[in-house]
Amino acid sequence: MPRRDLPLERDNAGLFLPAIIGFMVFLAALALAGSMAVDNVLAHWRGAIEAAFTVQLPPVEGESSTAAADRRSRALASLAGVPGIRSAVLLSDTDKARLLEPWLGADAAQLDLPLPDLIAVTLDSSATVDLTRLTTTLQGVSPGAAIDDQGRWRDAIVKGAEAANLALLGLLLLIGLAAALTVVFVARAGLAAHRRVIEILHLVGAHDGYVASQFQRHAFNRGLVGGIVGAGVAAGIFLAAQRWLPGLGSSTLALRPLQWLAVASLPLAGALLAMATARYTVLRSLRRIL
């Protein structure tokens, strides 16, 4: 049975330790779960963008409508022969007018503009297509053909995800730092409160590690209890939000089992952080005592 020569459980400062660690773990769990949920949405959007692209076929001056139709057919045939392409659909004039409506208004379809033909291409989910080579092939069929793979949007999403993850890391570090500082305070208060007993322990042959082990065990146990409550409350709030807030319940936002495991590991991480901080603080402080 672990020894408890120091009555740390009676310390006033120690009484707050589970509550403070619990609150820190609560914040960390919410931040982590929220970030992972946003990550899931971004991954979903990114997958959708990467699984589609648009082919633009600019109009050829002086070309007859028959020749233009023939050129479009040959471009569609070229796309149909490429492995990994699930579908290639030529957009109608009405579809194109709808795309232009935000910029040219509801009368866009009536304007006589030399608009390019647009082919919406979707890929099989895991397929990769050499777009440079496909562009060359298409240009052989339709001069000036170009592919828009929505790289601009994809880059923005990637940058957004990276920024969100970086912010999360910073937030978790701040929460960890705040928790560690709390443990330092509690450990120092404990050292001051039990200085006499610690002195006796030293005089009867206790190493610093013997004293520190009692502080670290206390911090771990208290931190774990607080952390479990904090993570539990955070998980409850997250699940309730998923259930009751519109949009949050979508499958893209829902956490996967491994992501729940990461949230569930936070109490242990918090307890380990508390334990390590307590040990370091106590050992460092004891070195100043003869």
Binding site: H202, V204, A206, D208
Partner: protein, 236 residues
């Protein structure tokens, strides 16, 4: 075993607490440290149990200069020293049994082994009925016996006792000193600080007399023999 050579001790800018104190104790010897209250007996013992470092001279224990000891070595050395403190220094929230068992638990002895020894020793010092009592519920004399039991439970190489009979009647005091003698016969070097010279006179052990923070009387022949024994210990 113990060698003090011109040891000087002072707290801050205050007066000398120990002034050029020199003596040596041979392994297995028994000494009374006598002198009036405030003469410096407790401070001398504090240097011997490594709670204080002298500011001058040289103090060595078990052949090692205490000024050269690392923190870990100090702890290891303390494990070879049993101390009976004048103010007992019991841990208030631990029972008599747990207080006495503390040094053994620190040494990592198994619970099944230490329980029997601790119970036997507490019974021997007359506290067999008070195993679970907290120090606050015990009388001064009973607390003193718990402190003595804690100091001797590990059968230390060096036993330092600061006024160990100060709170007990003469009969119990004699009994405790007999316990120290028994330990001494088993090889423990014993130093008992006391101002009760009538009790000291009932034993035939050597005395270190400290007056006004200096040693006033010490058998030089004994010192020479002890020095020789000390050198042998240090050399081994």
């Amino acid at each position: 075993m113990v060698l003090f050579d011109d040891v000087l001790l002072r707290y801050g800018a205050g007066p000398d607490i120990l002034h050029n104190v020199s003596f040596s104790l041979a392994p297995g010897s028994f000494h009374f440290l006598v002198g009036q209250s405030g003469a410096g007996k407790s401070s001398l013992l504090r240097v011997m149990y490594l709670a204080l470092r002298p500011i001058g001279g040289r103090a060595s224990l078990f052949g090692r200069d205490v000024a050269q000891l690392s923190r870990r070595e100090i702890t290891e050395m303390r494990r070879r020293i049993g101390v009976v403190f004048q103010d007992f220094r019991l841990i208030e929230h631990l029972s008599a049994l747990d207080n006495v068992a503390l040094p053994l638990r620190i040494l990592g002895q198994r619970e099944s082994e230490l329980q029997k020894n601790v119970r036997e020793l507490l019974a021997w010092v007359g506290l067999g009925e008070h195993l679970d009592a907290l120090p606050a519920t015990l009388s001064g004399g009973q607390q003193q016996r718990v402190a003595i039991a804690r100091a001797v439970i590990t059968r230390p190489s060096l036993l330092l006792a600061d006024e160990p009979t100060g709170n007990v009647d003469d009969q119990i005091g004699l009994r405790l000193l007999f316990l120290f003698e028994e330990l001494n016969k088993l090889g423990t070097t014993v130093v008992v600080a006391t101002h009760n010279e009538s009790l000291v006179s009932r034993f035939h052990h050597r005395q270190i007399r400290i007056e006004n923070h200096s040693l006033r009387a010490f058998d030089p022949h004994e010192a020479a023999r002890a020095q020789s024994a000390h050198n042998e210990t240090a050399g081994s």
